[in-house]
């Protein structure tokens, strides 16, 4: 009986230790790529869960007088529960070379069935294409 208790305790401890040592959560991303001025987005779905929850709608593009491309799109939570997510945008020039911007992930909370319109501006006039990446919240906590 005593040995059984000891074994159970050890198993519990091992489980706790494994949980404590578990590596950080790494989320797969969903990517939405613009084809230049086109308003149709190519999708690469890594997280089918997020795809079921989130829709990217109404992408718009506009180049201003100074030559900077601005983009706008709507994030739409298709579910009734709140989504905690992150997004970032990478920019590319006409030839497809990435423009270095030290991009960072931005936290976004979307209420049930909510819309959020996001407007982003290119870091340089050379930017011609963009790639929106979204993932479930994976903040350092």
């Amino acid at each position: 009986m005593g040995n059984t208790k000891l074994q159970s305790s050890l198993i519990l401890l091992a489980a706790l230790a494994a949980a404590a040592c578990a590596s950080r959560k790494v989320d797969t991303e969903n990517t939405y790529r613009s084809g230049g001025e086109a308003t149709v987005l190519e999708e690469e779905i890594g997280s089918s869960l997020l795809e079921r929850q989130l829709e990217i709608r109404a992408p718009l593009h506009k180049r201003d007088d100074a030559g900077f491309l601005s983009c706008q799109f709507e994030l739409h939570n298709k579910q009734k529960s709140q989504i905690e997510m992150e997004w970032t945008v990478s920019w590319f020039d006409e030839s497809g070379m990435k423009i270095d911007t030290n991009e960072h992930w931005r936290p976004q909370v979307l209420g049930g069935m909510a819309f959020e319109t996001l407007k982003i501006v290119a870091p340089t006039p050379a930017a011609a294409r963009w790639k929106l990446k979204v993932r479930e919240s994976s903040a350092i906590q």
């Binding site: 005593g2 000891l6 305790s9 050890l10 401890l13 091992a14 706790l16 230790a17 404590a20 040592c21 950080r24 201003d64 007088d65 100074a66 900077f68 601005s70 992150e86 970032t88 911007t101 030290n102 991009e103 960072h104 992930w105 931005r106 936290p107 407007k119 982003i120 501006v121 290119a122 870091p123 340089t124 006039p125 919240s137 994976s138 903040a139 350092i140 906590q141």
Partner: protein, 210 residues
Amino acid sequence: MAVMKKALATFLLPVLFLGCSSIEYDDPGRVETLTIDFGSTDLQTLAGEMVDSLIRSPALNYIEHPDDRTDRRIVMLMGGISNRTTEHIDTAGITDKMRVKLLNSGKFRFVAGELGQDEIEGQVRFQQGSGRVDPEKARAFGKQVGADTVLYGTLRSIDKEKGRSLEDLYDKEDLYYQFVLSCVNVESGEILWSDEAEIRKTARTGIFGG
């Protein structure tokens, strides 16, 4: 048996938990919410939003320079940000990040601030007075480009806390940041552009700290 249990509790448990500590490299752009205080994500968000707004502003597309009509980009000086929060925040981190992004955008030109001017002063004095630089090739004072505009701003916070009660077993904290930045014409004193960025962070702490 009791001795074994004691040994288990005393030695094995700490060893199991401490044994898995590690250091690893991570993405500098990852969202960070370790504490509610001002952090890297807040710095990146505030600087990023202001840079986007400055780049988008048609009022800052160009300015007339009577002495140089070939380059009509605005020459800026990155001024200071007044920290009116209750935290110690190195606001130069925000201005440095903004200057890098604005300069890389190609839309603006920048003149050196206080730190850069100190370096310039030391170097010109060295070139003029050390005897090591060809006098004909030595740089001189009095030829710098003057800034057309200065960027300056204020960072404020409102922090509220609510303790546990019988109705709610969580400690709650709400922290709101407001960052206002303006671009003023040095000659006329006219504010050409101004914008604000906001961040709200909330924290809940349970009885066991979770």
